[in-house]
């Protein structure tokens, strides 16, 4: 059976990431705590690339003190293998090669295959430690807990942001509401059939506008019920975000330039991608103080999808650029910003293995560029078979 110490160490590594503590994995563990030097790297291999393996891979890939030797799965379409390839982490369908790898210090078995225990015991090097069975399940729970907290943070920031749109939402509802009330009042005394029809059309159109506003806001505000991804049409999502972000200004003088190329899709949670776009567009609109040009550009090339959101606003001073993704950093006044918007944007983009870059010139404007890999996500059933 696996050694309890191995399980502790793996949990320990994950805890280090969650708390951002630099730890030394081979230091003596005393009361569950240890100090790990920053120069030590643990060489890890993951057996199984289904849901559990993918979650582990995503948790470990950005850790500075973890070197992923490789990941294996019998199913060549397993999601974790696709993601590993994107990160240039070796993949294999044969577990034994990876188990025997001389550099592996820690094997994490999430195959859920009862036969794997004996295979590992038979082929692993004596010094290699193993986490599997219940240890792997606890690790999985730990990762899921982290994801859940992160999702709650996204939702809290989204709802706080919606509060800043209240004035814009009220405006867009009050206009058609005025038309409805005034026309309906007039209808009570009107006898001319032609005018009655005209007023009825106006009332109907105004009510439709209110319905559209209500629908847009409800869709944006709702929390994601599942962690599952879907194919998202980027252009549709950008347009939906624009419908929300325009509530951020009292004025109506922002011209929108769309440079959409073809039909572009990525696999992600729709609510999260919408939140990224709304945050970036809202920042752009605030930076322009209601007047300027918002440019939305998309492009698809060499397996990558690029999205740019540019404004002609005030720009970001160079001294602030290194801080803009820090949690709770904001330059907005009057409660317009929570300081979590760009932090969440970056977290979501990284979740989908994307990159975020920024160009800004004070007095001229800012452009955020997002790059997402087009990972061909197989359906969940296929990689659940692990």
């Amino acid at each position: 059976m696996y050694k309890a110490l191995s399980r502790d160490r793996a949990l320990f590594l994950w805890a280090c990431r969650a708390t951002r503590v630099r730890c030394r994995p081979h230091a003596p563990v005393k009361g569950g705590l240890a100090v790990i030097s920053s120069d030590h790297v643990v060489h890890v291999a993951i057996l199984g690339a289904g849901k559990g393996g993918t979650a582990l891979l995503e948790a470990l890939v950005n850790l500075p003190h973890v070197h992923l030797i490789g990941i294996t799965d019998k199913n060549p379409r397993a999601l974790g293998l696709q993601i590993a390839k994107f990160h240039h982490i070796p993949t294999s369908r044969s577990s034994i090669d990876l188990i025997q790898h001389p550099e592996v210090q820690l094997l994490i078995d999430v195959t859920d295959d009862p036969g794997m225990v004996s295979t590992i015991a038979q082929h692993k090097h004596p010094g290699t430690e193993v986490v599997g069975g219940m240890g792997a399940k606890v690790l999985w729970d730990f990762i899921q807990h982290g994801i859940m907290i992160q999702t709650q943070l996204f939702q809290a920031e989204k709802l706080a942001g919606l509060g800043t749109f209240a004035s814009g939402i009220a405006h867009d509802i009050n206009n058609p509401l005025y038309v409805i009330l005034a026309m309906a009042e007039t209808l009570q005394e009107e006898t001319d059939l032609t005018l009655i029809r005209q007023h009825a059309v106006s009332i109907y159109q105004a009510a439709q506008r209110i319905h559209a506003i209500s629908r847009n806001i409800t869709q944006y505000a709702k929390a994601s019920k599942t962690q599952s991804t879907a194919n998202i049409d980027l252009h549709t999502k950008l347009d939906e975000a624009l419908n929300i972000a325009r509530f951020a200004t009292k004025f109506h003088e922002i011209t929108v330039k769309k440079q959409y190329k073809g039909q572009i899709e990525i696999s992600a949670q729709p609510e999260e991608i919408l939140q990224v776009f709304v945050n970036l567009m809202t920042n752009a609109i605030h930076a322009m103080e209601g007047k300027g040009r918002l440019t939305l550009t998309t492009e698809q090339t060499n397996g990558m999808v690029y999205v740019s959101i540019g404004d002609t606003g005030c720009g970001i001073p160079p001294e602030n650029l290194p801080k803009i993704f820090d949690p709770f950093f904001t330059t907005k006044t009057n409660g317009l910003g929570t300081g979590l918007g760009l932090y969440n944007v970056r977290t979501i983009v990284r979740k989908y293995h994307g990159e975020l870059s920024i160009e800004s010139v004070v007095g001229k404007g800012t452009t955020f560029r997002l790059a997402f890999p087009q990972i061909p996500f197989p359906d969940m059933v296929a990689h659940d078979q692990n």
Binding site: S167, A170, H171, D172, N175, L181, F251
Partner: protein
Amino acid sequence: MSEATGGMFSGHKTNGRVLVMDDEADVRKVVRMTLEKAGYDVLEAEDGEKAIQEINKDENPLLLDVIICDIRMPKINGVEAINYFKQNYSHVPLIVLTGFPDTEMATGFLKQGIVDYLVKPVEKDRLTQAVAKAMEQRELNRL
């Protein structure tokens, strides 16, 4: 001009001449219906730029009594349009009619000498009372 009212200067008896600036045609229509019923002539403009063009036409500067102005409009927004009218047509009283229930904005405008800050949806009586009050100020400005 987008939709200037015909008959505005036709010589019929009127309680006054009101320019309504709003980018939404149905809102202009509703305001017009209310004010015409109250005996006013109504002139319409869909944005600040067209309003300024219209107000500078022919004898309009002399004949205009009240301006009702929205805030969110394309090209020249309500704030800019109001500043322009305050500087160049200070004798014409202004009413803001907007969808923004914004106390800070309302206070700012009232300090500038706006007659009233009305938030849509506004009741008919409230609108006609505000225009009547603006007409009183217009009469005082003539003295």
